[in-house]
């Protein structure tokens, strides 16, 4: 059997649809043009330096050709000294310029890469909160890690090397034709083989390599998961299954390795044959020409040696061409983030008060299925409102609408009469903050972790904020105080400490309205209780919408709204609702005997 079919299972096939857009070819092209324009000068210099190096490298064959010519003519004075001196000068030039090409290529590639990754992050941190909330950060995360990595190779090597390879090949072919025009025909002999073979290969290779890489990553991912879940695996006696899972991943990965190996088993002979075909036909065509007296023996030698030199630039082009194809996909994913609409932010929309209001709000995540139906409510400044209800009833969604993260499909959510959806995110967050279970501690110093909420705060303000949430005790005990490195790789903070930091940020940011979404639900009860004390201090004097898991939170609220099936079914104070004897009252009785 000749040939290997691509495996049926493709590990690179997206597990779930990408949640963020991928750049269209037009956007990608425009971006590449912009990138090249920004680095035009460096690119030109690189090409000139490269051409110099290539031309210097052709001196050797030229000189040897001359020698062969003279020798075969039986010339007495060969000027060996002059020839060697010329050769040495050419070698010096070539050495210096090759070094320069490598350096300039790297400098240019690194600069483009740095531009690219920084551009991407700039765009990412400008994404509308609603997009992030809905799409999650997973897709973005894979773009900044995997895609930037893949592009690194392309930018650092492929782009400069390809440019070098193309210039190099062109110059060699030019020199070959210039030396003896008939030798140019030799290239035409090899060209069809090369073109057909490479087309076959490059049509299959990029996606196959993507699958192969994804397959290999899946092998490691499966193991990482087993390590991570060691306890669960042991408790559920999943050991055998995890081994089987790993071996399945290995089988899937190696199937792709086998396929790409087959692709190369075709490509390599094609390339090898093309090289030797060029040199061979230069020799044969040239030989005949020399014998017919159409060409000198010296030109033939030069031509043969020049054609031999084609190996390197062609190899360079072939080697980096598929890297470029892979890079194109990654680039499209990075550039795609640029296509996300900013939303109709209007600098002119300024709230004229602190009252939060929802008017006949309808909202859904997917077309045709609304999560909220005609919800209207008013939260006067300073009120504490608790949203209670079963999972999936729409509590969190309502909270996010009130925090201005989502815009209602129909109806309006306003703050002081101004529509939240039309305000820029930077303005919204000066007034309203959403506090959820996500208490991310950033890699960096404790100070950085607080400064993000108030950029130019003095240390004293930071300590005051930590004090306000009862965190100054442990923070002062840290050896390096505010300079202590925290986050992944630094000092590991407990979930409760992480949550305290999140609260300290709120103290610094000082919004007058807060939406709390299960802010303490992932903490164990003891930590939660401790934290709620700190929270109480932070909440004082602010309008609070709390999505309550625990009934005692609801009990303390001024108003409780029971959300069921996307509607508010009960509304009133704790005592009123208990009196009304509805769903809330039943739950409360069961909870609090």
């Amino acid at each position: 059997m000749i040939g290997v079919a691509p495996p049926a299972y493709d590990p690179a096939a997206p597990e779930s649809a990408t949640t963020l857009p991928v750049g269209t070819p037009t956007t990608v092209r425009a971006y590449v043009r912009e990138l090249l324009r920004r680095h035009r000068a460096a690119f030109t210099v690189l090409m000139v330096v490269n051409a110099t190096a290539v031309i210097a490298s052709m001196v050797g064959p030229r000189l040897l050709g001359g020698l062969v010519e003279d020798l075969s003519e039986g010339e007495r004075d060969l000027h060996i000294g002059r020839t060697v001196a010329l050769f040495a000068v050419a070698l010096l030039v070539q050495t210096v310029f090759v070094r320069m090409v490598r350096m300039r290529g790297a400098v240019l590639g690194e600069r483009m890469l740095a531009d690219l990754r920084e551009d991407f992050l700039v765009r990412s941190v400008g994404l509308p909160p609603g997009v992030l909330e809905r799409a999650g950060t997973g897709d973005l995360l894979s773009r900044i890690t995997t895609d930037v990595d893949r592009l690194a190779n392309a930018m650092r090597e492929a782009v400069p090397q390809l440019a070098i390879g193309v210039v190099w090949t062109g110059l060699l072919l030019g020199a070959l034709t210039l030396t003896a025009p008939p030798l140019g025909l030799a290239v035409l002999v090899a060209l069809p083989v090369l073109v057909v073979g490479c087309r076959w290969y490059y049509r299959r290779a990029p996606s196959a390599y993507r699958s192969e890489a994804a397959g290999y990553a899946a092998v490691s991912a499966s193991l990482t998961e087993s390590v991570d879940a060691g306890r669960t695996v042991e408790a559920h006696r999943l050991g055998e299954r995890r081994i089987a899972q790993s071996e399945l991943r290995i089988r899937q990965w190696t199937a792709w390795e086998r396929y790409t190996l087959w692709l190369r088993s075709v490509l390599f002979p094609v390339i090898n044959v093309s090289y030797t075909l060029i040199t061979g036909s230069v020799l044969m065509i040239g030989g005949v020409c020399v014998m017919r007296g159409w060409m000198s023996i010296g030109d033939l030698t030069t031509g043969a040696l020049l054609s031999q030199m084609l190996v390197e630039p062609i190899g360079l082009i072939l080697r980096w061409y598929d890297e470029l194809q892979v890079a194109q996909v990654s680039l499209a994913r990075l550039v795609g983030v640029r296509e996300i609409e900013e939303g109709p932010a209007d600098e002119g929309v300024v709230p004229g008060g602190r009252e939060v209001r929802a008017d006949e709000v309808r909202f859904g995540y997917h077309e045709g299925s609304d999560v909220l139906h005609e919800v209207s409510m008013r939260v006067p400044p300073g009120t504490r409102l608790a949203l209670v209800g079963p999972s999936g009833a729409g509590k969190s969604t309502l909270g996010r609408l009130l925090a201005g993260i989502y815009s209602p499909r129909t109806g309006r959510v306003t703050l002081g009469g101004a529509e939240l959806a039309r305000m820029p995110a930077e303005r919204v967050r000066a007034h309203v903050a959403l506090v959820n279970q996500e208490h991310h501690v950033f890699v960096g110093s404790l100070r950085d972790n607080l400064l993000l909420a108030r950029a130019f705060a003095e240390d004293a303000e930071l300590w005051a904020a930590l004090g306000a949430v009862d965190a100054d005790g442990w923070a002062r005990a840290l050896d390096e105080g505010l300079d202590t490195e925290v986050g992944s790789g630094g000092l590991a903070l407990t979930p409760a400490q992480a949550q305290q930091i999140a609260l300290a940020r709120l103290v610094l940011a000082d919004p007058h309205t807060l939406v709390l979404d299960e802010a303490t639900s992932l903490l164990d009860p003891r930590a939660a209780r401790h934290l709620e004390r700190s929270l109480g201090r932070v909440l004082e004097g602010r309008t609070v919408v709390a999505i309550a898991h625990r009934l005692h939170t609801a009990h303390d609220a001024d108003v409780i709204a029971v959300v069921e099936g996307g509607r508010i079914t009960e509304l009133g104070s704790h005592d009123e609702l208990v009196e009304a004897d509805g769903a809330y009252a039943a739950l409360w009785r069961s909870w609090h005997q």
């Binding site: 779930s16 040897l64 062969v68 060996i80 090759v98 490598r102 350096m103 790297a106 690194e110 890469l113 990412s124 400008g126 909160p129 992030l132 950060t137 973005l140 930037v148 490691s220 193991l223 998961e225 060691g230 306890r231 408790a235 999943l238 995890r242 081994i243 290995i250 390795e257 190996l261 044959v273 030797t276 030989g287 005949v288 033939l300 040696l305 031999q308 997917h366 409510m377 008013r378 400044p381 300073g382 009120t383 079963p390 999972s391 995110a425 967050r429 950029a455 790789g489 407990t494 400490q497 992932l522 164990d524 003891r526 929270l535 109480g536 005692h552 303390d556 001024d558 909870w591 609090h592």
Partner: protein, 656 residues
């Protein structure tokens, strides 16, 4: 070994005494592959370096105006072309096969080792090392394995060419034979420094990636509260540092490239100089000069493999050392209850023992008793102590000391990546009078399932998630229903509908076939918790121990879960660690274990009435008298300060 036969049925027992020994062990296991690869390498390179012979022969034929000899040169070229192409392709196939089989073998060894170490691994620093070996080191080891045979072929070819040149054209050949070793060795001293700079660059790049992914991971926080500029500035600095390091590294590689141009160039100049004068004196033919010149340029190909092997070895040596260290890890005897879980020999016995295990579960350390067939709720003031008690109940090794009463610093569960040392071992619980850490591990785990505070959802479809070793008595539907996973199913169905746009399957999205991403990150905390509970329920063990199974679930749902679990576990022994009245009220009996000792037993209502401390712990009373009652307990005052916010006249209303 063919790639299509992977994975190995048995990856074997590695020699893990040291890194080099591990490499040798790997090599011994693919000796045939290495030899095959080296032989094809010889074919390829021999044909390649013979090419100049044909070129020189051809040039000489033209000089001599001999058409027939030119044709012969052509025929020779065709033959060499075929051999070069065949050799190259086959060398590549053999060498890459060596790479892949070695990598697959190491990955297989790693996955077996991971399972053998089980929960012990998560507590060890080694967890990171195992992952590092799998994601980074395997490739480096594979590189060396792959390069080795190519290098062997290249070394033989180089020596052979030098010898042949000396024989073919002694005077010129001697120049080449002296020059080539110098070429081969010249760049070697530069390589370690280049490799070091490349490592520095990688470290910096890793740091920048970490910063970027950290920023993205916390992006919702940033967008919600501000600080984008601060983090962008930080990232820009890191990114520019990567650029500087990369350019520094490139400087080294540029130098190496220059050396690789200059030295062969000098050798060529020498050949031309000396060769021309020889030819002038008529001591060599023109063709011979061209052959030697061309041979030197061709020799540069095998010479590159000298550099490659030096690089590959310097990279793979630390990797092999780390792999050997990881594979040498053992589940220490004090942590292992009995046989390792994958040991097939013990498996059968484990099942038999498991069948015999049953009865009341009793923890001698705390005096806690869970009667067979009942739903027992346990209230501990301290979540760490609860975690330790849960561990003992399952015969798991307990870390962090048996209820040493240290409530101070750590708010984490005891089985996170616990950083404190073991203060000694507490006796494990007795199931029907048999100590659980004295029966085979499989038996203990089969009889008692402990679901800890942070159960991990393994990635896969919902069907796969629930496909765990189980009794078979409880169907997935029943378990999902009892754990109130209805909204999770809806969410998954919606997600799969949004993904496929209804493309495949006319019968609509099937939530059971929707993939749950790694660790269930796409789900909320409450949803994850309920799925984990469903998984434990479907297992249907003799004894099920649940540690805070509903801490992230809202009260409405929690109440329904309590009913569901109770119904589903009728007649089986269930122990729930909780302080939620909704669960406690539905338990057959409640054991109150403050400070590591069972001090009260009864129903929730009984204990509420008789034990004020218990009352304070479970109801979190806010009133002054409750705080006074609970003062001095580890739980601290139960106030939460949410009161005292000035009540504004309420105008919240609902329209529609």
């Amino acid at each position: 070994m063919h790639i299509r036969d992977l994975p190995y049925p048995d990856p074997g027992r590695p020699d893990v005494r040291s890194g080099p020994r591990f490499l040798i062990w790997l090599g011994r296991n693919q000796l045939g592959g290495q030899v095959k690869s080296a032989l094809w390498g010889l074919v390829h390179m021999a044909a390649l370096v013979s090419f100049p012979l044909a070129i020189g022969f051809g040039v000489q034929a033209v000089v001599d105006r001999s058409g027939s000899r030119l044709a012969m040169a052509g025929a020779l070229m065709v033959g060499l072309t075929v051999l070069t192409a065949l050799g190259d392709a086959m060398l590549h196939r053999a060498a890459v096969t060596n790479w892949i089989t070695a990598a697959a073998r190491v990955q297989q060894l790693l996955s077996r080792k991971t399972v053998e170490l089980g929960s012990a691994l998560t507590r060890k620093v080694a967890a990171g090392e195992v992952v590092a070996v799998s994601t980074g080191d395997v490739e480096k080891i594979g590189w060396f394995v792959e390069a080795l045979s190519r290098f062997t072929a290249a070394a033989i070819t180089t020596v052979a060419v030098c010898v042949a040149l000396v024989l073919y054209q002694p005077a010129l050949g001697a120049v080449v034979a002296v020059g080539v070793p110098a070429l081969a060795l010249a760049v070697l001293p530069l390589l370690p420094r280049a490799a070091r700079r490349a490592d520095e660059q990688r470290d910096k790049a890793g740091r920048a990636t970490e910063l970027a992914s950290d920023t993205v991971a916390g992006l919702r926080v940033l967008r919600g509260i501000g600080g984008e500029e601060l983090f962008l500035g930080r990232y820009r600095n890191a990114s520019q540092e990567v650029r500087t390091a990369a350019v520094r590294s490139a400087r080294m590689w540029a130098l190496i490239a220059a050396v690789q141009v200059a030295l062969p160039g000098l050798l060529l100049i020498g050949v031309v100089w000396y060769g021309a004068s020889l030819a002038q004196k008529g001591r060599i033919d023109v063709g011979e000069l061209v052959t030697v010149y061309s041979a030197v340029t061709f020799l540069l190909f095998p010479l590159r493999h000298f550099e490659e092997i030096a690089m590959a070895y310097s990279f793979s040596r630390p990797s092999a050392r780390r792999a050997a260290r990881v594979l040498a890890l053992r589940r220490s005897s004090s942590e292992s209850a009995g046989a390792p879980p994958v040991d097939k020999g013990e498996h059968g016995e484990g099942q038999e023992t498991a069948a015999r295990l049953g009865g009341d579960l009793y923890d001698p350390t705390s005096g806690m008793l869970a009667p067979s067939g009942l739903l027992t709720a346990v209230v501990c003031g301290d979540p760490d102590a609860a975690g330790r008690l849960a561990d003992r109940l399952g015969g798991h090794p307990v870390h962090g000391g048996p209820d040493d009463g240290s409530h101070g610093d750590s708010d984490r569960g005891s089985h996170g990546d616990s950083d404190r040392g073991s203060h000694g071992r507490a006796a494990s619980a007795l199931l029907g009078g048999i100590a659980l850490d004295e029966v085979p591990l499989t038996a203990a785990r089969t009889a008692v399932l402990v679901q800890d505070k942070d159960p991990v959802l393994l990635s896969g479809t919902l069907t796969e998630l629930l496909d765990v070793p189980r009794s078979g008595e409880v169907s997935a539907e029943k378990a999902l229903d009892a754990a109130q996973c209805g909204d999770v199913l809806d969410a998954l169905a919606q997600a799969s509908a949004a993904d496929t746009h209804g493309a495949d399957g006319a019968d609509g999205p099937d939530p059971m076939r929707t993939r749950i991403t790694e660790r269930g990150r796409s789900l909320s905390g409450g949803q994850r918790q309920r799925l984990a509970l469903a998984r434990s329920l479907v297992t249907d063990p003799e004894v099920l121990v649940l540690d805070e199974p509903t801490s992230a679930v809202d009260s409405h749902t929690e109440a329904r879960i309590a009913d569901g679990v109770r119904r589903l576990r009728t007649g089986r022994t269930t122990i729930v660690f909780t302080s939620s009245p909704l669960l406690l009220d539905r338990a057959d009996r409640v054991v109150f274990v403050p400070d590591g000792e069972a001090v009260g037993v009864g129903t929730h209502r009984e204990l509420l009435g008789t034990d004020p401390v218990y009352r304070a712990v479970v109801t979190r009373e806010t009133d002054g008298e409750a705080a006074a009652r609970s003062a001095g307990r580890s739980t601290g005052p139960a106030g939460h300060g949410l009161k005292g916010i000035g009540r504004v006249e309420e105008e919240i209303e609902e329209s529609a």
